[in-house]
Symmetry: C2
């Protein structure tokens, strides 16, 4: 295994590998070895495996200054059997390396969405690099973290199912906000509260602009063979236009407050009808959208709580939808999902 | 592929294979060939593959009288590369062959629950036959048909998660009955209605005795490493004791009617408190149970509709449960699940 990125997900993944590798070895299944660790500062390659009990110290003391190209090239040049490259960064530079890895027979596992949201032509080339060589490119954690969303769609499609519609609440932040927002609250206060609880990005505009959700529904639609790009998603930005220019977060919240009354009117009307407001991503009839939608009590998203993600798949086989729900973000569930992808890759 | 059983699931599976094999071949992924088809009457083996456009006629005309041992032995003797044996029967004789197939390097895929509910010692031996040889034994459709329940549990366990509790509504029949039963109805009439709609077995006692649900929660608990047997499941039988002796179905429903008032009292009290009644399988604290439980509006099973199955997994990684919901029975979803298992087996 060659890991890039040792942040919350990469770090938790190393913990899981350390704990599970010995069990897999005892059961004579695999001998997992982490042969490379790199982050934004340093890189370390050890063909015989890196001792994971104190990789931080080893990386600090023995690591070289990071050079992404050199790290990737070394991983390839070593030409070790059953190599897996694991990209736990949010960078878009790394995805340029994926086709090269795949062509060299190195599997790629990643929670990073960049490669799968690239321009369609590049995306197709990448996926062809994997499938034509029997090399694996796995990215279950691109959508819903550890929830089995992508594999389920792939399984249905490969068994000849015809998916009519996919709907999802694909942002933990927007899930939390609309599971809690009522006409008694001010919208800006709910957003502030979500930020204080650590549910949002440091700059909540990155959640409220809906682009992360748009990228996720694009990825799911591409699993169905739809040839669309990110610019084809009709996205509702929940931050008012002028707030995009806000100098700082305080200033942003002041601007957001101006829209509290408008939002209160909207939620008030919906409450009266007994319905609820949800930020929903949708793929249907060849069109992709992400935005606020009203749902009634019969809808599978009506009773959502906390900051859960939820996905509903409507198809020939599942006219009443197949629904998957649970935490869709967080270091543990994401790292566990990446680890499951690694095991599926090497157990092949 | 060697198929045993051409009933609703096996027959639908052959339809899916016929439609999908050419697509997989065009994409240069696999060349799927069905080299054996057998059912309760006939068997046919063709090492070069059976033409699937009219397998029924070929089997009828060219097939030999069924001899299970001879069919299985021939599948082994042919010694074809990447052989997969698919058991779409409900028989318990076939599972005796699984360890022999696995030892011979033949993968086994099945929706049949018999092998996985055998005595613990036999179960362990069977699973060891697979894991120690890197041969696959896949049975995702044992629980919830095509819903990704077993794989999800396996993924969590292998990533070091600690599952505290699994709860499920694992019978489409019992789901339908309790999603529809209110104090305005008589319980026996609801059961009759479910039978008329084709939701129950021809003899509804087979659904109402809870044993099918008990087998499913046993299988899930064994995925967590619990070493329990079917006799360890505390099962509530919904048919009154004396009805087990009923001579025929009419007589059974007469006996069931006697308990309508008692059941109406029970559901009436629960309705008043705002709760609902569900037939729930549960694995928690080393104990397995299947029976009627009251759930409040916060419970993930409260809003269940139709005849859906639902499973909730509570763990260290998912303190708020991971929930999977959808059709848990039916020819199409089961056959699609079996097909997905076949693809995962051979794409390894």
């Amino acid at each position: 295994l060659f890991l890039l990125g040792t942040g919350v997900v990469g770090g938790t993944l190393l913990k899981i590998i350390k704990d599970q590798a010995s069990k897999l070895f005892e059961r004579q299944l695999f001998n997992l070895q982490v042969c490379g660790i790199a982050n934004i500062e340093s890189m370390l390659i050890r063909p015989d495996g890196i001792e994971l009990n104190n990789w931080q110290k080893t990386l600090e003391k023995k690591g070289l200054n990071i050079d992404l190209d050199s790290y990737c090239q070394q991983a390839m040049d070593l030409n070790l059997k059953h190599s897996v490259f694991i990209d736990c960064t949010a960078s878009d530079q790394t995805s340029e390396w994926y086709p090269r890895f795949l062509k060299a027979g190195i599997h790629v596992v990643t929670p990073n969405k960049k490669a799968n949201t690239q321009e369609m032509a590049v995306y197709k080339k990448l996926h062809k690099s994997a499938s034509s060589r029997g090399v694996k490119f796995r990215y279950e954690t691109n959508v819903g973290a550890g929830l089995p969303v992508i594999q389920t769609i792939q399984d249905l499609i490969s068994a000849g199912d015809n998916i009519h519609k996919i709907e999802g609440i694909l942002s933990g932040t927007l899930s939390y906000i609309f599971n809690n927002y009522t006409s008694k609250d001010s919208f800006s206060a709910i957003v502030k509260n979500a930020r204080d609880k650590g549910y949002t990005e440091p700059d909540p505009r990155e959640d409220l602009n809906g682009m992360d959700v748009a990228r996720k529904i694009l990825i799911l639609s591409r699993e169905m063979g739809w040839e669309l790009n990110i610019t084809d998603v009709d996205v509702e930005n929940l931050s008012p236009v002028e707030s995009m220019k806000a100098k700082n977060i305080e200033n942003y919240f002041e601007l957001l407050q101006k829209y509290d009354d408008q939002m209160r009117d909207r939620i008030g009307k919906i409450e009266k009808s007994g319905n609820r407001l949800r930020y929903i991503a949708r793929a249907e009839g060849g069109k992709l959208s992400a935005g606020l939608k009203e749902v009634d009590s019969e809808h599978p998203f009506y009773g959502l709580q906390g900051s859960d993600n939820i996905v509903a798949i409507y198809s020939d086989y599942y006219p009443i939808p197949l629904v998957i729900r649970g935490a869709g973000a967080g270091a543990e569930v994401t790292a566990a999902g990446v680890f499951a992808d690694i095991l599926k890759t090497i157990s092949g």
